[in-house]
Symmetry: C2
Subunit: 399 residues, 2 copies
């Protein structure tokens, strides 16, 4: 499925002066192709000894000229199956790698045809030469492309200019398509569900690791993939985050911040839980933070600037005598946890329909801990739709 706005991609390539986008990460190659080799999802560097001489590397090529076909590299064997599973829309698949395998008798995969390349870099070079783009200005993710692969690409394409285009992708990804919003809903629902179970289950004596175990399992049960969690328990929770062995005690304020992914789209919100009767101070802080969040939510609509939204929230918080712990009141979210637009004082972004955002207000009190509200929304034509609601409440667990 094509997740992105092709016309906008062409327009941005013109503005950035590149003839082709050639990303390689889950964030951007995965976005253009709607594909990722699933079992490398969590590897840092995708290192396996079997790939010792040539490690796995994905590339997606999208030419600015729409008359020229896009292409994708595909590692021989299981990656062909992944492309079948999720309906890869790019037809020119450049297969590389050494494995030979029998097809099953009723294989849904097409017969093996075309050239096999020894490396993904050779596959890319061949695809570019056939398209007359060997000397082109090529947009890559220099920041994340390994030195070795970068050098191989340059050696095979000595006339090409390889240029950093991460900013182009931030802009391309900022407004979501219908399918992206659908996936964002799936991710938000899974986390909302996991947190509802957490409110029912959390008790003094549990540790941060127990919370990771609980929420991780619930994310999977909801059909999503658990990604990360902060368990912040009492005052120490300001400094000591992460899934940790600290024990929850009666009187603690527990802040959980977590995220899953659903078909590569992310959630990011959490819970604030008072374990036992909430203190006066906690009620006072919540009484200041919640109206600030409500005011930001209320103001969300196309045309309003990220800067205005920051000011709206900040004004209420300061009026109540509190200050934001973060330099922002929310951020875009999608394939990445933190995307544009960031609701900060120096932001240049203006909201558009179908931006998806986490609205996030955080204060800390050294004697109490972290008090944070966060929920996910999608901007609609005249306001916003809540994708989650559990993150703005103060939850109280009897203890």
């Amino acid at each position: 499925m094509i997740l992105f706005d092709y016309d906008k991609a062409v327009h941005l390539m013109e503005r950035w002066g590149v003839d082709l986008l050639l990303p390689h990460t889950l964030l951007n190659a995965g976005y253009l192709a709607d594909h990722w080799k699933h079992d490398l999802y969590t590897s840092i560097g995708a290192h396996t000894t079997f790939d010792k001489d040539e490690p796995y590397q994905l590339f997606v090529g999208l030419p600015r000229d729409r008359k020229i076909d896009p292409f994708i590299t595909c590692r021989r064997a299981s990656e062909e199956g992944d492309m079948y599973n999720w309906g890869m829309w790019i037809e020119d698949r450049r297969v590389w790698g050494l494995d030979e395998r029998p097809r099953s008798l009723n294989s849904p995969l097409p017969p093996v045809t075309g050239e096999m390349y020894a490396t993904p870099y050779e596959a890319v070079a061949a695809a570019l030469k056939e398209r007359g783009l060997a000397g082109a200005s090529i947009g890559v993710e220099r920041r994340y492309l390994g030195v070795e692969g970068y050098e191989k690409l340059q050696r095979l394409l000595p006339e090409a200019q390889l240029r950093e285009v991460l900013g182009l992708f931030l802009e391309l990804r900022v407004v979501k398509s219908e399918e992206e919003v659908r996936r964002m809903r799936g991710a938000a629902q899974a986390t909302q569900q996991a947190l509802e179970v957490t409110v029912e289950t959390l008790q003094p004596g549990m540790t941060g690791l127990d919370l990771e175990s609980l929420i991780g399992a619930e994310h999977y049960r909801a059909g999503a993939r658990h990604e990360w969690i902060h368990t912040q328990i009492g005052p120490q929770g300001i400094d000591v985050v992460g899934p940790n062995p600290q024990e929850i005690k009666t009187g603690d304020v527990v802040r959980i911040d977590t995220g899953c992914s659903y078909r590569h789209y992310r959630s990011d919100f959490g819970l604030m839980i008072a374990v036992g009767e909430p203190s006066k101070e906690l009620l006072q802080i919540y009484g200041a933070v919640r109206p600030a969040m409500d005011a930001v939510l209320e103001a969300l609509r196309p045309g309003v600037s990220a800067r205005q939204l920051f000011e709206i929230g900040n004004r209420i918080l300061e009026r109540e005598g509190f200050e934001s712990y973060l330099m922002y009141f929310g951020h875009g979210i999608g394939r990445n946890v933190n995307e544009e637009p960031v609701l900060a004082a120096d932001s240049k972004w203006v909201l558009e329909e179908n931006m998806t955002m986490a609205i996030e207000l955080v204060t800390v009190r050294p004697a109490l801990g972290m008090v944070a509200l966060e929920d996910i929304v999608v901007i609609t034509s005249d306001g916003h739709e809540d994708l989650s609601t559990i993150g703005r409440e103060l939850h109280i667990v009897e203890a």
Copy 2:
């Protein structure tokens, strides 16, 4: 905790002619320091807009000269808490980043002291200069280090030579310490437990995605982190792997191959399930594959070569008229799913005590599907200990 053999590391640095190891990945920096910033675990490239001008990057420096202290870079804020949670043994922490934050009143973290660096590269350069290593031969992971970071390092350390040492790390990691074996046990137990629940639960009508949901949740419930899954259903399962929407039917052979991690150490094994009465052909194949696996398991001990083990398994399989689908009969496993030693015909490795390995025998039949056995072991002084056992059986589910 120090997970690696320091003397062996020094010895390898001498052999490779490097003065310092300076890795940055979960595999190798995480290994030297026993640390990883937990919420970046699954990000490819750790990209966040808040780090737009300077993305997160870990470095660990381990000098060959044991009189010179190691160091680690640490991003200001939550990473300090992660280092506290898991007892970072490296004392020289070079803090970089822009965030300022209040400490909690009863913070377990030390007071903020020392210089703050703008980027991790500046932190590394300062640490090396203080150690007189600015012009040293430095072992890095060129394959995985982004071009931009590599260029920054070179600019700050113009006298240094940055050399690829991934092979050094493969050798350093191949024999596990007691703590590493303990974690491998934790990972293997979690997957064994998840697969036991799967045998009880699997029914016709379930899909590959249902299996991902089930096993993912069980991995978390067992205190581990789910990492990946192949669900291979019937003949299509030869080509179409991954967690997929295909439905299980009566008569299918289902192959599940999955892995979790426990404190960054991996499992990798699975199940072979006949859904309904197993066919004669399936029983015949299992009758050939199982003795081959048993023979390999029986032969495991220090001093035996990887090549011999491959030959032992292959001889039995061929005698029975079958052939291996893979070019190997097993592989080392640890922080990575696929490590040395690989039990292949061209391997130069000889087994040592405390190597951890997945013993894996795979055959395919185009009309039937994949028939694969796999379990994890640790090599002991006179043989091996099974870390899992469920992966060598033929499981039958009534349907």
